[in-house]
Symmetry: C2
Subunit: 491 residues, 2 copies
């Protein structure tokens, strides 16, 4: 129930935290920084996962599974990867517990200390490339297009449900190629798939582009990203795809014999999206009444609620509802008929509104007489009375309309919250007002990027692929620049 | 290629290990006891997972996700669970690494020691019941029917791919009920689902029954099991479902208000199957030429291989094959046309035989003239020439026939390898000859069970649900018994 849900305007961050727990999406667990993904939240994640999995398979990728643990020494093999990943990690040092001397407690068995510590994977490049060494000998073994759905752990100090948790679920693709051009093409293909998924399934507009050197993945030569804008004007990095060059192939000595019989290092990519997408989905569309879900990812697309006083009325409504359910299911629409007698219709209305069910149908005694029902859209909160005849066709197209409308609202919001800054003063004022994306010229140097970040907290989210070429000067240094990059305060 | 595959008769265990790696199912990783599940093996696991997941959802269960880590103290809360599970576990003691004093290596940061160690889940009863405490207040919150697909870790000393690995993938269902009867009904429902799945999807006959007290899950009042027979005469426990009574509810103080307003402890079940099923699938059906897969779980059900000398011939075969592929796909059959020119037809024949593809089609120049092709069944290795007209219908029913035949073969094998023993001498002779299942009378005591186990290595696999009631005497003690239980040497 929306009762007690803080308004976005009052405190956006609190609104988010409350919404995640009240809508039964996730909650904090007894383990610091680790979340429990509740059934309703997990059902949404399953839909996201299945849609992505199909897109990966349709582009020739296969799934596999690699170990949870990585020997500590593996992290030292790729120099830049060490600094980026081998720090805030869960470290396994022992493999046995025993009963304590009090006969009740259990303690770590010091005799069972591992010779080499194992790290719970924060990402799997190292363990996977150490495996690829045995899988790749010749050009015939390439390309290798593998994805893994897995849990990973990064010991974050400040955590928030879905957005930043110590353990999270994700997929990580790790591909191996014979040429540089093919690897770059793959990395771009995957960021395009993420963009398609965000826009067509999540109704989430994103800007695709390249990360600046500062923001690149540890070990990558190039990182591509999709960046989305949340309702509080902050950006959320929603997926990344990395061109890794030959860094991991060299670190793990993965060479292949070319058609011409030469020996060369393999070219690599990796790419991933995580349960963080759940955070993006929630924050991008929801309102002060609760969650707003795009129909394509809603576990329940239509809910039907009976409104009755007598048992006879309920019986008549049950019959109508059953007919309607069958018609909708035949169209592949997921529908729930909630005729529980333990809750009132009012409670149910609030509950399904909070949970973002796209279409709510209410059937009362008068509807039975008139062969009608009341239909309410979650996105606009509009209601109307319609005839049951042909309702399935109407609802099918209404779900499409809602999907499109949610996307359009997000596009409009982003347009209204994207600004250009031509001077550093303009830039600082925009940042101070938390306006969203800022397009500005930048001189391309690390130094300038860092000064701007330190002074304003805004970072370069990406150098958009579709940035127009135009002559300008860097807002900070005044040096020449040939395109605007995308700045924002980010999650 | 079957080349180099040890024969089952020579060394069954070596045959299994070689088959798993040569058929690209899995391999050992650089991390002791942890496996890499390769794409072909993972594709089979995905099919198993999807079929089970649908069966769980069809019976009202939903999925969720709980943390990978469990605080050490949680294991001490349920007394019998401690001994069973809190011993051989991966223990996380630190959460940070740092660069070593040599500036190159990385070392554990001793300043980042956890106050309480975290255990990588060996099973999730404790963390889940500590969560359920907040989810269950009233009878309205029950039943709670939740499943989780996850990785778990048990630090096994002697590991074998799929059968016993330190990390494995599984599903674990954890349900909460208002009454004892309902919980028992649920535990039985789930063992029945496992049995259905084993028989109808894996073509694996299983015997359902109850575990003796010795063999029960740590913390359960009753454990139900499905037991399958492998080709070497050993039994493989393939799935278990536990009636946990109120043990975990009491350990984590999970009470609910009944309809009558009383407060009572909740009743629990848990149930799981794991990647161990892959081991059962491989061992039950495969032969000296390689894997034999039941069509319902085969990632590739039909493979088509062209046999040609000239490019023109290949062109004509490609056309026929494309037509056939389309027809088969329209019937929902997964088909692969392998016209790679990097491998010979002979190599391909051996490869797909090794990988257990149920149906192999070869098309040569003469087939083009005659509008025919050669079809070979993996299960019987029979070949015949058939007409392309109507081939899709024929292949569809052939796949069913293969599924049934594989099951029948396994049933026949089990029947031939199930014996009754009326005396301890008979029993010992049977065990020595590794004959499979032995039905024998037992006096129902722990002591007898343990003596038999110590002297013969045979254990009570289960007390079959369908055991006939008959008067008899225990083979060891001579005390009265009213039904035979199922003994075997087991994996």
């Amino acid at each position: 129930m929306a009762k007690g849900l803080t308004k976005r305007e009052e405190n956006y961050s609190q609104w988010y935290n409350e919404l995640v727990t009240k809508a039964d999406l996730a909650e904090n667990s007894s383990v610091r920084g680790c979340m429990v993904i509740k059934p309703y939240g997990y059902a949404i994640w399953e839909k996201m996962r299945d849609a992505l999995d199909k897109m990966f398979k349709d582009t020739g990728h296969v799934n596999a599974y690699f170990p949870l643990f990585i020997p500590k020494s593996f992290f030292t093999k790729e120099a830049s990867h060490v600094d980026g990943f081998a720090k805030e990690c869960a470290v396994v040092t022992h493999y046995r517990l025993k009963t304590g001397s009090d006969g009740k407690s259990i303690v770590v068995d010091e005799d069972a200390k591992l010779e080499e510590e194992l790290i719970v994977r924060p990402t799997s490049e190292t363990i996977i490339w150490s495996t690829y060494k045995n899988w790749i000998q010749s050009y015939r073994d390439l390309p290798l297009l593998i994805n893994q759905w897995a849990n990973v752990v990064r010991w974050e100090m400040r955590t928030r449900l879905f957005l930043r948790t110590a353990e999270f679920l994700w997929q990580e693709g790790h591909t191996a190629h014979a040429t540089k051009a093919e690897a770059i093409e793959e990395a771009k293909r995957m960021i395009n798939i993420y963009s398609d998924f965000a826009q067509n399934w999540m109704a989430l507009p994103v800007i695709m582009g390249e990360k600046s050197e500062n923001e690149r993945f540890a070990g990558a030569l190039d990182t591509y990203t999709i960046e989305a804008l949340m309702q509080d004007g902050k950006a959320l990095q929603s997926g990344t795809s990395h061109f890794l060059g030959q860094n991991f192939a060299k670190a793990f000595d993965v060479k292949f014999a070319t058609k011409e019989g030469k020996e060369e290092y393999v070219w690599a990519t990796s790419w991933g999206v995580s349960t963080r997408l759940m955070g993006a989905l929630i924050m991008a569309h929801s309102d002060d009444n609760g969650l707003v879900l795009p129909p394509k990812l809603a576990p329940i697309q239509v809910v039907i609620i009976p409104i009755h006083k007598t048992a006879e009325q309920l019986e008549a409504i049950n019959q109508k509802a059953d007919t309607l359910c069958k018609l909708l299911k035949d169209k592949g629409i997921s529908v729930k008929y909630d005729n529980r007698d333990t809750q009132t219709p009012g409670w149910k209305f609030a509950e399904y509104e909070l949970k973002g069910v796209p279409v709510r149908i209410a059937i009362g005694p008068r509807d039975i007489e008139n062969n009608t029902f009341e239909i309410a859209r979650r996105d606009t909160l509009e209601k109307k009375i319609i005839s049951i005849d042909g309702a399935d066709v109407l609802i099918e197209s209404l779900l499409d309309e809602i999907q499109n409308n949610i996307y359009k609202k997000a596009i409009d919001f982003r347009a209204a919250n994207t600004h250009t800054a031509n001077t550093y003063e303009e830039f600082k004022t925009l940042v101070k007002n938390q306006v969203g994306f800022i397009k500005a010229h930048w001189d391309g140097t690390k130094v300038t990027e860092e000064i701007i970040k330190n002074e304003t907290k805004a970072t370069i989210r990406c150098i958009p692929f579709d940035a127009e070429i135009e002559n300008g000067t860097c807002i900070y240094s005044g040096k020449p620049s040939n395109k605007r990059v995308l700045f924002a305060i980010s999650y």
